[in-house]
C-alpha cells in the first residue's frame, strides 16, 4: 500500500509515496528487475533494516529531490538517487549494497516520487512484491531496523561513553546520520 508522505518544501506538484512490506517472499525477483533495469518498475527499493526512522528515510528523499532540481544527480534517476542519498560517501555501488534491496532482504521499503497519480504504481507493486503490506509508521519501521547494521554502514560504532538511556542514544545516532548524509560530497 503506497501512502502519500507529506514533506515540507517540495517542488510544486511533486509527491512522495512510501510503502513498507514485512517478510518479503521474492527479494531475488525484485533484485532482478533492478539488475535488468526494468524501466516500468521504477522505485527506490530499500532494505528496511538499514533505516532508523521515517526522518532518516525522508531526509534522503529530500536531498535526492533537491539534487535533482539543481541538476546535480550522481546516479541514473531520482529513485536511485534516493538510495545514494542515504550514503555518507560518494561510492554509488556501495550505497546500493548497504541500503538497497538484496536477495536477502526481509523487510522492504519502497519509495515513489512522482508528479502523477499513484494508482498505476500501486498496481505494479501488488503485482511484483509478495509480502505483508504494513503502514509506513515509526512503530512499524523500528521492527525492521537493524541498529548494528546501520552503525556499521555509517562507521558509527558504539562508544564507551557513559551509558545513556535508549531513546537518547537513538536520537544521537539519527542526528549523526543526518549530519553525515548532509555532508556527503563536501569538499
Amino acid at each position: 500500500m503506497l501512502s502519500k508522505v507529506p514533506i515540507a518544501h517540495l517542488p510544486t506538484g511533486l509527491s512522495v509515496y512510501v510503502a513498507l512490506y514485512f517478510d518479503v517472499k521474492n527479494p531475488d525477483f525484485i533484485c532482478e528487475q533492478l539488475i535488468n533495469a526494468n524501466s516500468v518498475f521504477e522505485f527506490a527499493l530499500i532494505d528496511a533494516k538499514s533505516i532508523l526512522s521515517p526522518m532518516h528515510l525522508l531526509a534522503a528523499v529530500f536531498r535526492a529531490i533537491n539534487d535533482a532540481e539543481a541538476k546535480r544527480m550522481k546516479s541514473r534517476n531520482i529513485h536511485s538517487e534516493v538510495v545514494f542519498s542515504l550514503s555518507s560517501n560518494n561510492n554509488i555501488a556501495e550505497s546500493f549494497r548497504k541500503f538497497g534491496v538484496t536477495d536477502k532482504t526481509k523487510d522492504l521499503l519502497v519509495v515513489k516520487i512522482t508528479d502523477s497519480t499513484p494508482e498505476p504504481f500501486e498496481r505494479l507493486l501488488n503485482e511484483y512484491v509478495q509480502g505483508d503490506s504494513v503502514a509506513f509508521t515509526a512503530e512499524n519501521l523500528v521492527k525492521s531496523t537493524d541498529v548494528a547494521h546501520i552503525r556499521k554502514a555509517y562507521k558509527l560504532p558504539l562508544t564507551s561513553r557513559p551509558a545513556v538511556d535508549q531513546p537518547c542514544q537513538q536520537q544521537e545516532l539519527e542526528i549523526s546520520i543526518l549530519g553525515l548524509m548532509a555532508l556527503r560530497g563536501a569538499h
Binding site: 507529506p6 515540507a8 529530500f62 533537491n66 539543481a70 549523526s176 549530519g179 548532509a182 555532508l183
Partner: protein
C-alpha cells in the same frame, strides 16, 4: 582581537514574510520604521508553502525559522545570499566553503557531545544550512532564548537585587555552565571564534500544548541547557593561544553587554577550569592575552 568586538546590535524585529511563487521580495511586512527587503529565498524554500519567518539578518547571513520535513521538527535555515559586489565564481566558492566549514564543525561537536544544534540538511551551492531549532519555554513569539536575552530579562525582573544577594544564584550557576560548555568545545578541538551571549542559547522543554504566545517577555528562567550556536567563524585548533583568545573574546563581549555582571565573570573560568586537561594552561595563557589587550587599548 579586542578591537573586533563590535557593540551588540539591536535584535531585528520578527518579520513575517509571505512567499509567492514569483518571489516578490517586497512582500515583507515590517512592524517598525526599518524596511528590510530580504533577498529571495534559496531553492527549494523559494516555493515553499510551509511557514517560514525571518528571525535575524546579519551582514553575512539571514536566519529563518521554518520546519524540516515535518511540522514536529522546527529548524533554523541559515541563508548566505550571493554578494553582488563579489565576483560570482569567487562568491560561490567562498559561500560553499563557509557553509561546509560550519556544518563540519557542528557535526563534529555533536559527535563529541558538545551541545550545538544538529545539522539537518544543507546545500552549499545554493548557500543554505538547516539546523535544529533550539527551543525554549521562555522564548517569545516563537523564538528561542539567547543567554543575552535571558540575562537582560532576568536583570529587569530582579533590578532591586545587589550582587551579594543569594538570588544571584541562578545567574552564577549559568556563568559556571557557560564555562563548562566552552571547555567541552575546546576539549573537542574546536574554537568558536565569536563567543558572545547572543551566540549562546538556553534550551528548555517546551510543553507540547503551550502556545508560544503564553510566554511573556518578562517571564524568564536561566535554568536551560546552554547550547552554542553561530559557528560561522569557528575553526579547528588545540593551541592554548587560540583557546585563550576565544575566552578573551567572550569576556570582552560579556563585559560590554552585561557590565553589571563583570565581577562574576570569574565563575565562567571556574566552570572552565575543571572541565578538561589543558584548561589550566589555557587560563594561564588568558592572562597574557588580557595583558596584550590592555596594552593595545592604551596605545589605541
Amino acid at each position: 582581537m579586542a578591537t573586533t568586538i563590535a557593540a551588540p546590535v539591536q535584535e531585528p524585529p520578527l518579520t513575517n514574510i509571505k512567499h509567492t511563487t514569483t518571489q516578490e521580495s517586497s512582500t515583507a511586512e515590517t512592524s517598525t520604521s526599518t524596511t528590510f527587503i530580504p533577498p529571495p529565498l534559496p531553492a527549494p524554500f523559494s516555493h515553499t508553502t510551509a511557514p517560514i519567518q525571518l528571525i535575524a539578518h546579519g551582514a553575512e547571513a539571514l536566519l529563518y525559522k521554518t520546519i524540516f520535513l515535518t511540522p514536529d521538527q522546527p529548524c533554523i535555515l541559515k541563508h548566505r545570499p550571493a554578494k553582488s559586489w563579489r565576483h560570482p565564481k569567487l562568491d560561490v566558492r567562498l559561500t560553499r566553503h563557509r557553509i561546509l566549514t560550519e556544518a563540519r564543525i557542528l557535526v563534529r561537536c555533536r559527535r563529541e557531545c558538545v551541545p550545538v544544534p544538529a545539522v539537518l540538511a544543507l546545500d552549499a551551492d545554493a548557500g543554505w544550512l538547516c539546523s535544529e531549532f533550539i527551543e525554549s519555554s521562555h522564548g517569545v513569539q516563537g523564538r528561542g532564548l539567547t543567554v543575552r536575552e535571558g540575562l537582560e530579562r532576568w536583570r529587569k525582573n530582579n533590578s532591586s537585587l545587589t550582587t551579594s544577594d543569594d538570588l544571584l544564584g541562578s545567574v552564577r550557576d549559568l556563568l559556571r555552565r557557560i564555562g563548562e560548555v566552552v571547555a567541552r568545545l575546546h576539549a573537542s578541538g574546536v574554537i568558536h571564534g565569536d563567543l558572545t551571549s547572543s551566540n549562546l542559547m538556553l534550551r528548555s522543554m517546551v510543553r507540547p500544548n503551550a502556545s508560544a504566545e503564553v510566554s511573556s517577555s518578562e517571564d524568564v528562567s536561566l535554568s536551560g541547557e546552554v547550547v552554542l550556536i553561530d559557528f560561522g567563524l569557528a575553526s579547528m585548533s588545540i593551541q592554548d593561544e587560540d583557546r585563550a583568545v576565544d575566552l578573551y573574546v567572550l569576556e570582552r563581549a560579556m563585559g560590554s553587554t552585561h557590565p553589571w555582571l563583570e565581577e562574576e565573570f570569574g565563575l565562567m573560568l571556574d566552570g572552565y577550569k575543571g572541565s578538561y586537561k589543558g584548561a589550566n594552561v589555557t587560563l594561564k595563557r588568558l592572562e597574557e592575552v588580557r595583558m596584550r589587550g590592555r596594552k593595545k587599548s592604551m596605545i589605541g
